[in-house]
């Protein structure tokens, strides 16, 4: 029972980490129709930014603040300087852009390796969050609870922004009808760049908070981004709420298979994905058909 409870919490923690990535990926796909395969690169960049800041200043909290900043800027620049012009040139479909970002994912991993070497780096857990708390009869690391807290806060924040604010309304309208939003006088390119930056920043945030838990290495983004893809497909491409539930499902599947069926750990979530695709090719949580 205690093992089970620990695994539930671990699953929740993993879910929240993946959710931070999936939320950005989903927003970008939903709004711009760009499958950003390079999303994992922002995770890597966030983590390395965290390593650099933490080792220079000794402050995890400063790293937490600055880590998402670089991805934010790079993401906005990537969208407005590279992807948007290519999309406007009309030659590139969203499949082309997906392939382009595929190249970017590997280029980033290569660049990071070139700058930082291929060694595995680590960020110490901040003292304030070190140690364990006892919870329902088990002792659980505070830091993992912190990750769960960050994930849930981001989910709540995004839901609030999306459902209750003018910005959210504009975004929802943009997902439905891009031309209409432009006609209403919204600078759609600026909005795209901002959302792309925000999505990248969330991935960067995930990178920073993951750093004390996992080792930091150049290809960390490539590994996690595939799990993120599973989440966004299971959740229904472009569906923010769906990606939250799908994160929970994927995170739990991963944690439970790790604990109880270690031989299937590497492919349990893919089996899940395939099951979903067979039953509902449009994703579990997508109720509105995309117009092809």
């Amino acid at each position: 029972m205690q093992v089970f409870l620990t695994q539930v919490l671990n699953g929740l923690q993993l879910s929240m980490l993946v959710y931070l990535l999936a939320a950005g990926l989903t927003l970008i796909f939903g709004l711009m129709n760009i499958l950003n395969l390079a999303h994992g690169a922002f995770f890597t960049l966030g983590a390395y930014c965290g390593v650099a800041v933490a080792s220079a200043t000794g402050s995890f909290w400063l790293a937490l603040l600055l880590g998402p900043l670089l991805p934010l800027v790079l993401g906005a620049v990537l969208q407005s300087m590279l992807l948007q012009p290519l999309a406007e040139r009309g030659r590139s479909t969203h499949l082309d852009l997906a392939l382009l970002t595929f190249g970017l994912l590997f280029a980033t991993a290569g660049a990071v390796e070139w700058l930082f070497g291929s060694a595995f780096l680590a960020v110490p857990t901040p003292p304030a969050l070190a140690g364990h708390v006892s919870l329902l009869g088990i002792s659980y690391p505070v830091y993992r609870l912190f990750i769960i807290g960050v994930g849930l806060s981001v989910a709540a924040g995004l839901t609030f922004v999306f459902d209750r604010t003018l910005l959210g309304a504009t975004l929802r309208a943009g997902v439905d009808d891009r031309a209409m939003v432009t006609a209403l006088g919204v600078n759609i390119n600026a909005l795209f760049a901002a959302v792309f930056g925000l999505g990248a920043a969330l991935a960067g945030l995930a990178g920073v908070i993951a750093a004390p838990l996992t080792s930091v290495y150049s290809q960390m983004g490539i590994t996690i981004v595939v799990e993120t893809f599973v989440v966004v497909v299971v959740g229904g491409l472009g569906n923010l709420r769906g990606s939250f539930y799908a994160s929970l499902i994927v995170g739990m599947t991963n944690a439970m298979s790790q604990a109880y069926l270690p031989e299937v750990e590497m492919f349990a979530i893919y089996a899940l994905l395939i099951g979903v695709m067979i039953v509902r090719p449009q994703g579990m949580f997508r109720n509105v058909e995309r117009v092809a």
Partner: protein, 332 residues
């Protein structure tokens, strides 16, 4: 339909009036290429022979991907799984089960075809970026299995994969030159077979599906079974490349199923342009040579692979063959 893939452009332009000229030129070109390939081990160094072997194996892999990406318009990022399955198939067949190679190879290909039919049936329910993601997921699943399973010897991979026994012909396939001719023969057969399929009535349905899936259905084609058919042919072709690859290195490991390898295959297809028969060959040659060149210049392969990939997709979309052709073609 914005989902319609636009990677490919024209395929059959064979009935254009100066077709005879083109055909003659093609014949001369293909003929001299074959002659050159036959003479290569006698004309140059063993290094060049090694490179040529790598190019040919890559070309088979790219041909398989091209049937899916170029002809049918389905962009897959998971073809590495079939390359790996080919290698692992004969690896398990010969080293674990102790079967002879001549039995392991056909058994592997039949298994891959069966598996591809099942996987294809699932994957082809989607299209566009979702197809790309689900093929990726499948390949990651097999990648995970190859790392985890004891049967495949985990991440260490399997060694001791045999080359064909050519003793009856008085030849030893361990000799680089003999192996080179073996690869050359299989490559010519495989590339010709894929080309024939693309030019067949079945292949023209695949092109119709690429251009407009709805129209193909309205014409009376059961679109999904054709897509699964293309998926199976592509998978078997990639498995052939995997078998040769594992024989070339006597070795197979999970990296052959990696995401990056699948991406490299798609890159070769894009470099070579999806429209030309020679596309996958040219793409494979450019890619393998560029990779070799880079490895001389730098150890940061991944960085340059990524940048190279981006440049090709952004600025060289229709491939070098197409760029070459349009440079020589007077536009009307």
């Amino acid at each position: 339909m914005s989902e319609e893939v636009t990677i490919a452009r024209t395929t059959a332009r064979d009935d254009i009036s100066p077709a005879a000229q083109v055909r003659r030129a093609t014949f001369v070109l293909v003929g001299s290429a074959v002659l050159g390939a036959l003479a290569l081990p006698w004309l140059s160094t063993s290094y060049a022979t090694t490179l040529a072997i790598e190019i040919m194996i890559a070309a088979i892999f790219a041909s398989g991907i091209n049937l899916l990406v170029g002809t049918t318009g389905l962009v897959s990022l998971g073809q590495g799984m079939f390359l790996g399955l080919g290698g692992y198939g004969i690896g398990i067949g010969t080293t674990v089960l102790g079967l002879p190679l001549w039995l392991s190879v056909p058994a592997t290909l039949v298994l891959v075809a069966t598996l591809a039919a099942a996987i294809g049936a699932v994957c082809t329910r989607t299209r566009g970026v979702e197809f790309l993601l689900i093929t990726l997921a499948f390949s990651q699943m097999f990648y995970g299995a190859a790392i985890k399973l004891r049967l495949t010897n985990g991440s260490d991979g399997m060694s001791g994969i045999p080359r064909p026994d050519l003793g009856l012909l008085g030849l030893n396939a361990d000799s680089p030159v003999v192996f080179y001719y073996y690869i050359l023969l299989v490559t010519m057969l495989a590339v010709a077979a894929v080309w024939r399929i693309a030019e067949s009535p079945f292949g023209s349905v695949l092109a119709a599906i690429r251009e407009s899936e709805r129209r193909a259905a309205a014409m009376g084609y059961a679109v999904s079974s054709y897509k699964v058919g293309a998926f199976v042919v592509a998978a078997v072709t990639c498995a052939v490349a995997g078998i040769l690859q594992s024989q070339y290195t006597y070795f197979i490991n999970p990296d052959s199923m990696s995401w990056q390898l699948s991406g490299e295959g798609v890159l070769m297809v894009i470099i070579g342009s999806t429209t030309a028969v020679a596309g996958p060959l040219v793409g494979a040659a450019v890619f393998v040579l560029a990779k070799q060149g880079l490895s001389v210049l730098t150890t940061e392969y991944m960085l340059f692979f990524g940048i190279f990939f981006m440049l090709v997709v952004a600025f060289f979309r229709n491939g070098v063959v197409e760029a070459f052709k349009s440079a020589f073609r007077s536009k009307p």
